[in-house]
Symmetry: C2
């Protein structure tokens, strides 16, 4: 809580200096066209002379509006999220909004507090990339707040809310079908939290591809684990020493895949030769990795852009209809699954 020592120049002082009323000065700062050119110039000159700085806080307060948007994400160090955030930011900024950022690190408690903080700060809208274990309490909280909001990357059932994300099921299906076509019959699915919609959707695709090939899934090859590099390592360790280890691995995310590959290398197992690995997200590193990682594009930046635009509409129109925007994923076949 910082006390401002130096007091600001107010619009009133500007008005007095320019010899006009405060309301006239107010119209000038807001570029209202019904002010004569002469008056406008006079006021602008006074603003310059006095070093006036517009006070958006006071303005927003009185007009009961806000050009701040709250954006809550799980983890900025995750490339997928930072790309998403860039999409959100650039779009909102170009629309004249500024981003109030919160990071949950996937903690539901933190998420709850951040949502409250955002509402207390009277943001005009909220874009939320929900924590993977978002609970019934979160749902209740979200349904209560009247601030326009958009969910991104992960859907929450029972929340009446617009949503932007990728068709995870389709992405997983494409990846698995690719592996099946290569002749694999024992495919592991590593990483991700079983209760999260992002995992469930991938699982559907995983299952659908198996069903279409008349294959049953071996549950012991499905390991639920935090979607991080460490999680990937750990999940791999659990699956690789089985009597019948998998011949291919579908990873929840590229980050998980990097952990998996690292652990494979530590065991002298060569990805792309001894075992196939597929990731999800197509982060920039995937292409540069050694070996380059087969993965599914999920277009985080586009998701960000679309989420921002959607929120913008929500904020500026009384449009009641909920929207769900689902982007189509794309499979990139690289060396971790290219040898045939």
């Amino acid at each position: 809580m910082k006390k401002m020592n130096k007091q600001r120049v107010t619009l009133q002082e500007v008005a007095k200096h320019a010899g006009v009323s405060t309301s006239t000065a107010s119209l000038v700062v807001r570029n209202n066209p019904r002010i004569s050119e002469a008056t406008r110039k006079k006021v602008l000159q006074s603003m310059e002379d006095l070093g006036y700085v517009y006070d958006r806080v006071a303005a927003n307060m009185r007009s009961k509006s806000s050009n701040i948007v709250g954006v809550i994400v799980t983890d900025i160090s995750n490339t997928f999220i930072s790309e998403f955030l860039i999409g959100v930011q650039t779009t909102l900024e170009s629309l004249g909004y500024t981003v109030l950022l919160g990071t949950t690190f996937d903690s539901v408690d933190k998420q709850e507090r951040l949502i409250s903080t955002m509402v207390e700060h009277r943001v005009g809208g909220i874009i939320l990339n929900p924590a993977s274990k978002s609970s019934a309490r979160t749902v209740k909280q979200l349904n209560q707040i009247r601030t326009p909001k958009v969910l991104a990357n992960r859907e929450l059932s029972d929340v009446q809310c617009d949503y932007v994300g990728v068709d995870y099921e389709q992405g997983a299906w494409m990846a698995i079908r690719h592996l099946l076509q290569k002749g694999h019959r024992r495919i592991a699915f590593l990483g991700g939290i079983k209760t999260s919609s992002t995992w469930i959707e991938r699982m559907k695709g995983f299952k659908r591809a198996h069903d279409e090939a008349n294959l049953t899934i071996d549950e012991s090859l499905i390991i639920d684990m935090v979607p991080t590099r460490e999680g990937g390592k750990e999940a791999l360790a659990q699956v690789i020493d089985q009597p019948e280890p998998p011949t291919a691995i579908f990873c929840f995310s590229d980050l998980v895949a990097f952990g998996v590959i690292q652990e494979l290398s530590a065991r002298d197992i060569k990805p792309g030769e001894d075992i196939d690995v597929v990731g999800f997200d197509n982060v920039p590193e995937a292409e540069m990795y050694h070996p380059p990682l087969t993965t599914v594009s999920s277009f985080p930046r586009s998701i960000g852009v679309k989420a921002a635009n959607l929120l913008y509409h929500k904020m500026n129109e009384q449009d009641e209809e909920l929207q769900r925007l689902i982007l189509k994923p794309q499979l990139h076949i690289r060396e971790t699954s290219s040898s045939s």
Copy 2:
């Protein structure tokens, strides 16, 4: 600009409902201890009953304070920056502040606009990771604003401001000395903008190490280029086809090094065998890269934490003394320079 349709419950209504005065209610929300337990309970109950949400905007407005801090960075997709941002965010959040985020993408114009926006939003303080080409105008703007501010990662001469960063000179010196000890005599320095303090500091270390070994620097081996993967590729291309190519490469950042390695691979030159490569930053990918990259730790997260703490002090004490916090870097020798 979003108009709030549903009107909020005000503190006045809460007070009336609880049968106390507004000022008493105000003291309750601020946890002032001089309110009796009975009154407090009554008011809290009314808040609950009415679904009251504290309005920080109004509170900050009246008390002329702010618990929002503006953080302006060059690029979130850069791992160094996102790590820095995590340090800043977690620290500020634990101190009760929320972050208003701006990204300049290294554009000075954008930076200027973002600083203005932050000030107009009356942030309590600003943490700025300056764009590399920050101009005299930026300096003037920064010196004019009275908001407490801390510069991070890149120093601006002529700006009266606290600063937190790494000892880039020392880091570069360590890297070059390592290469010289390995017997290299023609070391290139690729990437980075010559006018930025981060480049200048590295150059000093580069030069000092050469001086100590009584070696002169070949200017043709120093290529100024945007510090990105692309910049690394391009810089390498300029230097590798010389009649006397370098035997080792010192890169401005790990990102540049990744570009350099990629371009080397494309030319079938093996980093760590045919040519040595050293990066700067020690991003998480450096260790995972193929081959693992020798690099210098610059501790972005610690920089973020320290910048946030420093700003916190600036905001809460009239401490006039400017501080410069310079972290010591650390050299990590890995495969791109380990064979001897």
